[in-house]
């Protein structure tokens, strides 16, 4: 009865405040809006109090840092022990161009590498294939062969640095190239650290860089789980990504729900393969967006950790606490960057980066202010990195763990987001699971609806975007352009031709034939892909073998 009495007293106190203090204030000065909404159109109340807390106790909802359910963070010391990894997503032009950018970023204090690949690479085409026309190096680096991969990391300590690679449909091939490049330098695979994104489900839902249909694609993903847990145990074989779901238009709640639903789908596929959940779950990592709405974003990360811990322990029966941890990378919201007055993007990125840090991220990419126009130039990329360094070393937010924990507002938002995700899990279940829901276009339509609603809110000025629909100036931004050179393209094409001419043709043919047979059987494809890469098969050749065996995905058309 005690709790109920307390609640009643709190409620009486709220009513008293509303009558005596709030009402006269509202009469003399009405509020600016009838309804206040988050970036995701979630209504926000005037004031949050202990009355907004769910029935559960703090011990159940929050726990302590480094303990179940990890709402406050996955480490007992968080950033007091070690700062997040400052990992800047970079890539353009040839392997030489991007190698130079990596070295520049390392020289300026970044602490992890992150590779952006160009469109042909993302779709499993070599630079000189007709499908790649016009796309070489424009939004990432072109990697068509082991030779390119070796150049990309030349002079960089691959045994010491952790490397993240944003690659999905051809993830196992690109990973094999990285492993073979390390091997050729005598670096043992067992100690290699890094991440391949390898999250095909969100490709069908949002990012759209798919090649094969869902089932063979999932098989390839599980092949990497299995191979990684045996041979490259420090490697994150997947980064389950909400980032692109959000960029495509989803709300924070949808980003959270769809990402975790995908995460659980990978767990099911791993278990169905016969893997023990505690053998592969610790190498699953996550990737979330850091958007404008500070509190909603922080709540999203906290809810994500809590849901994942609960599902892993209670639904999937994981025993190792390490399997319960949701470790995540975050990136500020590219979609929030404006082409108008681009320098103000630095401020947006700062707020977004702050959200990620207050939400307990393990690594962070901060966008450069010129990205509404181009792949960032050097100076813009450096400012973006400096933004993180200021957050880490000047703002004071890294001094204590989960500094906003216990905020009535933040805790209520965290609970709300968790409930929203649970409702989505039920809907996905009703649709037959993640893959049937993809086939029905469920995620795609939900995301498109949210994107359209958001744009309408901007059009109707229900939402102010500084520099776009308010506080507008009439001036052309001046930016230092970054261009991929014709010389880079020619050098890349020449290297590919030379590779094809000089390799051992028989060895190459045998390796691709064995890969084809492996794809047709149930064998793990990773060792076969590695052999093909060592035999100097190109990315396009390997993916052609798979395209022939697995077929090509065709997405439901909707908007």
């Amino acid at each position: 009865m005690r709790a109920e009495d307390d609640r009643k007293a709190l409620d009486d106190e709220r009513k008293r405040w509303e009558d005596s203090t709030l009402r006269p204030a509202l009469e003399s000065l009405p509020e600016r809006r009838k309804e206040f909404l988050t970036t995701s159109s979630r209504p926000v109340k005037r004031l949050y109090t202990p009355l907004d807390r769910s029935g559960k106790t703090d011990a159940e909802r929050l726990g302590k840092p480094g303990e179940f359910p990890f709402t406050r963070g996955i480490h007992p010391t968080m950033y007091r022990g070690r700062l997040w990894t400052m990992r800047m997503f970079a890539g353009y032009g040839s392997a030489e161009d991007t190698n130079k950018r990596f070295k520049y970023l390392i020289a300026h204090g970044e602490t992890g590498l992150s590779v952006a690949f160009d469109m042909p690479t993302l779709y499993g085409y070599d630079t000189d294939e007709p499908e790649a026309k016009g796309e070489f190096g424009t939004c990432g680096v072109a990697v068509s062969s082991l030779e390119d991969m070796k150049i990309l990391f030349s002079g960089i300590d691959v045994g010491g640095v952790s490397t993240s690679m944003t690659i999905n449909s051809p993830a196992s091939v690109i990973w094999a190239m990285y492993l073979a490049a390390a091997e050729s330098r005598g670096v043992p695979l067992v100690g290699l650290r890094g991440t391949i994104q390898n999250d095909i489900l969100k490709e069908y839902q949002a990012q759209k860089e798919w090649i094969y249909p869902p089932e063979p694609s999932m098989r390839l993903v599980v092949d990497t789980f299995e191979y990684g847990s045996r041979h490259v145990p420090e490697w994150n074989t997947i980064s389950i990504s909400g980032y692109h779901i959000r960029e495509a238009g989803a709300t924070a709640g949808q980003e959270l729900a769809f990402t975790l639903a995908n995460g659980m789908e990978y767990i099911r596929w791993g278990i169905d393969r016969g893997l023990k959940v505690d053998d592969f779950a610790p190498r699953l990592s996550f990737f979330f967006n850091a958007h404008n709405d500070l509190f909603e974003e922080i709540a999203k990360y906290r809810a994500a950790r809590r849901i994942w811990a609960r599902e892993m322990r209670d639904t999937f029966g994981a025993k190792k606490p390490r399997s319960w941890l949701l470790r995540f990378h975050s990136q500020t919201a590219g979609v929030s960057l404006t082409a108008q007055q681009p320098e103000i993007n630095i401020v947006r990125t700062t707020i977004q980066g702050l959200a990620a840090v207050l939400g307990g991220t393990q690594s962070l990419h901060t966008n450069a202010y010129d990205e509404a126009f181009q792949v960032p130039n050097e100076a813009a990329a450096r400012i973006a990195l400096r933004t993180q360094q200021i957050l880490a070393h000047e703002s004071g937010v890294a001094n204590t763990i989960d500094p906003l924990g216990g905020s009535y507002f933040l805790e209520a938002l965290t609970d709300e987001l968790e409930e929203e995700a649970d409702r989505y899990f039920d809907r996905i279940q009703e649709l037959g699971g993640v893959i049937p829901a993809i086939r029905k276009g469920f995620f795609q339509q939900e995301i498109a609806n949210s994107a359209y609603r958001y744009q309408r809110e901007v059009e109707d000025k229900e939402r102010v975007i500084v520099g776009v629909n308010d506080f507008v100036v009439d001036e052309q931004p001046e930016l230092e352009p970054l261009r991929v050179t014709e010389a880079s393209f020619k050098a890349q094409v020449e290297r590919l031709r030379k590779l094809r001419r000089s390799r051992d043709a028989k060895k190459h043919a045998v390796a691709l034939d064995r890969l084809r047979k492996g794809c047709e059987s149930d064998d793990n494809t990773m060792p076969l892909i590695l052999d093909a890469v060592r035999a100097k098969a190109t990315l396009g050749e390997i993916c052609d073998v798979m395209r022939a065996v697995f077929g090509i995905w065709e997405e439901p058309l909707l908007y």
């Binding site: 469109m119 026309k133 509404a372 181009q374 359209y452 744009q455 975007i465 629909n469």
Partner: protein, 135 residues
């Protein structure tokens, strides 16, 4: 009898490998809401695919979207092929991540208008309304 106005027909297309379809879909929906007939091609269309679809569907205008940086190769190719197929009267508009320097070059190549990030939907709708009536 009030004559039924012919609906303006627009093809929204994604040339090349770029998978960023948020903008294209939002524009498609805005045009549909404004009463136009919209055909969305889906992803990974070659300039040939796009021109073929535009002629088959008898559209008044095409909206091309590309955020991957391949616009200088792909957009002018669409205009060139339209002319080759004697369909140069189909208006071509474009949008995406397009550096300022490229805009005059695209216009010279026959792209009527380039809508940069942050363009209000009403401006895009107004453009296609005019383009449709002119055709």
């Amino acid at each position: 009898m009030v004559p039924i106005a012919k609906k303006i027909r627009v093809l929204i297309a994604k040339p090349g490998l770029d998978g960023h379809d948020r903008g294209a879909k939002v524009v498609a929906r805005a045009l549909r809401d404004a009463g136009m007939e919209v055909i969305y091609t889906g992803l990974r269309q070659t300039p040939e695919d796009i021109v073929e679809a535009a002629i088959q569907e008898d559209v008044d205008a095409i909206g091309l979207s590309c955020l991957s940086g391949a616009h200088m190769t792909l957009f002018p190719e669409v205009v060139k092929l339209l002319k080759k197929r004697k369909s140069g009267d189909i208006v071509v508009a474009a949008g995406g991540i397009i550096p300022e320097d490229d805009v005059p070059k695209l216009k010279k190549a026959g792209i009527q208008v380039v809508f940069g990030p942050g363009t209000p939907l009403r401006d895009i709708v107004a453009f296609f309304e005019t383009a449709g009536k002119g055709a």
